[in-house]
């Protein structure tokens, strides 16, 4: 049983990590409460499904168009919906909830409530420690690791990354220093949504595509980002793996209570916050700033 928990927890943690990286960037680093983040993930999944299954484009072409199209849409949404209310966090929260619901209803209208399947990019799998792991899940782990490195590099080794961190730290000072804070925020949204779109393309083939697929990951992502510590990419990664393991342990220890795995993960998150309100890596995050 131990090896099942070790392998299953890691693989599922990888799925969450890929979803959490983009959310951590937008929510934790840029401090834009973009509730529509996972709705963009849903849009990318639908776009990928349409291009791959209906239009019958290749994996790479379909993936590139999906990620590019959804990222472009996010820029448009930022200019039209988020930017006008950017200074009021509550308004951003409400506006992005509305945006997510609009996307949901549009997909419900266009595709109905049907559950759709996307073929795996990589077929087959391996057995490791007696546990079967499909190649698609290993691909997700690899892409999550690659995305983490890319985001870290952009944030800490480029001028754009410096600008993102500076505006997140103090918007007014960054503005006074001559930075175009609106453009920086727009780039942050685009970068973050492109990560959600990559997740949609890579993760959706292991799940089911439907208009409500953005809700469950949203709650999990919030939990991971808060658990890991706002703004800490490292915290988000560890938070994602931790949630993956917590869920796996719940299923193995309490099989008849498998439906509680999400609730158990959230309860542990609440417990951690009661003891350490800044999250696991909140202090490190402050130092990094």
């Amino acid at each position: 049983m131990l090896q099942d928990i070790l392998v299953t927890g890691l693989v599922n943690g990888g799925v969450y990590a890929l979803l959490a990286i983009g959310f951590s960037l937008i929510f934790g680093v840029a401090r834009i409460v973009n509730i529509a983040h996972t709705a963009f993930y849903m849009l990318a999944a639908y776009c990928f499904y349409t291009l791959l299954v209906k239009v019958q484009l290749g994996f790479v072409t379909a993936a590139l168009i999906s990620v590019g199209g959804v990222t472009a849409l996010s820029v448009l949404c930022y200019r039209l919906v988020i930017e006008p209310v950017r200074e009021h966090e509550a308004a951003v929260l409400i506006a992005t909830i509305a945006l997510a619901l609009v996307f949901q209803e549009l997909m419900l209208f266009s595709f109905g409530g049907h559950y759709l399947g996307i073929p795996s990019t990589l077929e087959g799998g391996v057995r490791f420690l007696g546990v079967s792991i499909p190649y698609q899940r290993m691909l997700i782990l690899a892409v999550a690791a690659a995305m983490l490195i890319v985001v870290w590099y952009v944030l800490y080794r480029t001028r754009v990354g410096l600008a993102i961190r500076a505006t997140a730290n103090d918007l007014e000072v960054a503005n006074l220093m001559g930075m175009n804070v609106h453009r920086v925020a727009m780039i942050t949204v685009a970068l973050s949504v492109s990560l959600a779109a990559v997740a949609g393309v890579v993760v959706a083939p292991v799940f089911v595509v439907d208009p409500f697929m953005w809700l469950a990951p949203l709650v999990t992502m919030l939990a991971i980002v808060v658990l890991g510590g706002l703004g800490s990419m490292k915290g988000s990664l560890i938070g994602a793996i931790a949630i993956g393991y917590i869920e796996a342990i719940t299923v193995f220890v309490l099989p008849a209570g498998a439906y509680l795995k999400g609730a158990v993960a959230l309860a542990i998150m609440v417990a951690v916050l009661l003891v350490r309100p800044e999250g696991l890596f909140g202090v490190v995050f402050e130092e990094e700033r």
Binding site: V15, H114, G117, S132, Q136, P205, F207, V251, A258, Y259
Partner: protein
Amino acid sequence: MIRTALLATALVVSSTALAQNTLKIAILGPMAFVQGEHHWNGAEMARDEINKAGGITVGGKKMQVELVRGDTNEIQSVPDATNAVERVITRDKVDVLIGGFRSEAVLAMQEVAMDYKKLFLGVGAAHSKLGLNVEQNYDRYKYWFRVAPTKDVDLARTLFAVMNSIGDQIRKDLKTDAPKVAILAEKAVWTEGLIAAAQKNLPAMKMEVVGLWQPSAVATDVTAELSAIDRSGAQIVFTILSGPVGISVGRQMGERNMKAVAWGINVEGQKEEFWQAAAGKAQFVSTLDTYAEVEYTPKTVPFVRAYRARFKKAPTYTAATYDAIMILKDAIEKEGTTNPDKIVAHIEKSEHVGTGAVATFDKRHDLVWAVGKTSGIAVQWQDGKKVPFWPPQVKGMQPFKMPAQ
């Protein structure tokens, strides 16, 4: 007071509709979802067939059938479902209600329908309480009949009959005395009775229950559950699933190359879209079902073919709205009236040969269970096609297959 006023208004308007020689039937279902889509499709087929033949004969006059689309959105919201019932009764002034899917919602919908004394022919929900209400308070609930499926307890009888047959095949193929069974049931009210029955009956059938796993009905990832089931050495995964988790189970079992075979209820597995939704990975997943091109009743094959020709897909069990409307037509024509009390009395004592069942009703207004009459059929996904394999005495059945060991 308000409810009484609304009731009076509904009765007045209802009689106006009847006076116009139109029988208005509300088709209730989650219309954005497959269940509601098939509710509506089956009803449309019945309506067109009846109207093309001139309508329903009532006392020498012909009444045309008019369908009203009642989108209950019940998968998402029970209040939406009861609101839809109120709306079709008070605003659209329908005479009869047909449909419903999710037991939790249909229990609430039943209350509203009975408040207005509207005939409600259920097509979709399995929970026993719906029929128990009729037995316990006949005067209030007598307007309810369950046309499809059979109640949960009878679904269990069918499931165990098929399980016995699969168990025998496993005993023979794998040379084992007691096949190991893992119960994989979504957490929902309708699964509770079936789980209890499985835990009690499977050991009596000389099968070993290795565990119970209960994911959420909307879980998109069941790899941890399947990993644990794999480790338990289960040879049969007894599924009791109605939500999208059924797709995840089918797909992820295939991705993991599991040696166990899935049998049980998998509502998503009944749909033609299941194979695509599971990305072609759901090989050998089997489920209880209602329709296939087999001679279950004399009307089954013609209905399935006509449905497929019209809608380019096979019907799921909620398309039994067709049978519900035909039961209603027979009752109205035989009694020569649309009086609900007389229709109820007629349905109670009659037998109707439908497309999905040969229906007679018990004192709970539930279908009387019998193999080959109301039990339904069992199907298995084999290479992208849904292959019927049970009951063996029905013409057109094919062999059940096991994954390579």
